[in-house]
Amino acid sequence: MNTKYYRTWEEYKAEHPEIDERLEGVMVPKMQSYEEMMFGFVMMLLM
């Protein structure tokens, strides 16, 4: 998506080089799930 209000994990990670690769596996599902929940919420506001 061409937007500044939704980021994939790869986009987020590029902005956060401090992320510990060892933790990435457990971070991704948590962090991305909130991104997806926010997207779903925003869309439901217009449906």
Binding site: M1, N2, T3, K4, Y5, Y6, S33, E36, M37, M38, F39, G40, F41, V42, M43, M44, L45, L46, M47
Partner: protein, 392 residues
């Protein structure tokens, strides 16, 4: 021991009901026509004798309300319908699009969040435009400074998911308790891109003028909305052929065929095609009368589910019945005006037309919104008739 037997019975019942839908969705003949009535939350609240506003604001009352419907109305899917219009987050946001009336019904006034001169902005980045332009117009509490907006948004986000997960928990508990099918209901909601642009972005009045005044922009806006609609139609887990994105179809019957062909159909078809390609079936609520577009519906991916409101069931069966999955058509008005026998005869008539060859499950032509809009005895009699007589 008795408890264990009851658990096994419920498990067996759930498996049997789930199998009915699996067979229908697989294009096989099921043991019996499965039943999926659309009893809304408003119906359930009124039927339980509760106040509409009280229950919608207090989900602690939900289980009692839903349970009464589960006890009294036969269904293969959980008849406890999810409340899509929970008032809590709408109130926190100062919503203009969904407002609770004095009777407790959530009303949907005609609103628009996008001005005609903003089409280019929407086309360039629909999600940015939604966040920056459209939401603050429709949700008055967001029309404020960034810090206040962030606080309002955080509260509404939390309220929305708190209410959603509470309701899902209650529904899940009752699904287990009453042995309902684990599939066959509504999983996700998305929209045809034209409907998305029409419904709350430009409004009914705005879009009908736009297709004459700015046809190229409307076309481009539908294309721009398409990726959002595809994303919204996908679950956050691997899709299965038994799940579905629910797509209620709104505007097509209200526009001219040549406008349908240019503005509505192309991105709607791409949406359903793309979801199917990703493994996610679509369940369409074919609102109003789509008979003039029936050949278009045939072109959608095999096993697309279509819940019809009005139209000719014979024509639908003949044209779509070997490729797609059909439901609906039963007029809920008859449940109010007809005798018990007339209501049962209508169910029999529809089953005789739609059930042969499978690919059909029983449903009404629309959700039953209020308990007094039907004769409850007629409703129960029809559901009972289908459960006991619609065997293959």
């Amino acid at each position: 021991m008795k408890d264990m037997a009851a658990t096994l019975d419920r498990t067996a019942l759930a498996e049997e009901r789930t199998q009915l839908f699996k067979d229908v969705f697989d294009g096989k003949i099921p043991k019996r026509v499965p039943i999926s009535p659309s009893l809304t939350i408003e119906f359930a609240i009124q039927y339980a004798g509760k106040n509409l506003a009280d229950v919608q604001w207090n989900h602690l009352l939900l289980e009692e309300v839903y349970e009464k419907v589960c006890q009294d109305f036969i269904s293969d899917t959980n008849p406890a319908a999810m409340n899509l219009r929970n008032p809590v987050h709408y109130k926190l946001l100062g919503a203009r699009n969904f407002v609770m009336s004095s009777s407790g019904f959530m009303q949907h006034p005609e609103v628009h969040g996008l001005e005609a001169e903003e089409y280019d902005e929407f086309i360039a980045s629909p999600y940015d435009c939604i966040m920056e332009r459209i939401l603050p117009r429709i949700y008055t509490e967001l029309d404020t400074n960034p810090a206040q907006r962030a606080i309002v948004f955080a509260k509404a986000f939390k309220a929305y998911y708190d209410e959603l997960f509470t309701a899902l928990g209650v529904i899940g508990k009752l699904t287990e308790k009453y042995g309902y099918a684990s599939i066959g209901g509504i999983e996700l909601l998305t929209e045809a891109p034209f409907d998305f642009v029409a419904d709350q972005l430009r409004g009914f009045k705005g879009i009908t003028g736009d297709i004459r005044r700015y046809p190229d922009k409307v076309e481009a806006a539908c294309e721009a909305a398409l990726p959002l609609m595809i994303k919204q139609g996908m679950p956050p887990y691997p899709p299965t052929k038994y799940g579905a994105a629910f797509i209620p179809l709104h505007m097509a019957p209200y526009i001219r065929p040549k406008d349908f062909e240019r503005f509505y159909w192309p991105t709607f078809k791409k949406l359903v095609d793309e979801l199917a390609a990703k493994g996610q079936p679509s369940m369409l609520f074919v609102e109003h009368d789509w008979m003039r577009y029936i050949d278009y519906l045939y072109e959608l991916p095999e096993n697309t589910r279509m819940w019809f409101e009005y139209g000719d069931p014979k024509l639908v069966k003949e044209k779509l019945g070997k490729k797609h999955i059909i439901s609906g058509f039963y007029p809920i008005t008859l449940l109010k005006t007809g005798t018990k026998q007339q209501c049962i005869d209508k169910a029999k008539e529809l089953i005789d037309i739609l059930a042969p060859g499978g690919r059909y499950y029983f449903g009404f032509d629309k959700g039953i919104i209020t308990a007094d809009s039907v004769d409850l005895g007629n409703l129960q009699a029809v559901l009972e008739y289908v459960a006991e007589n619609a065997h293959y």
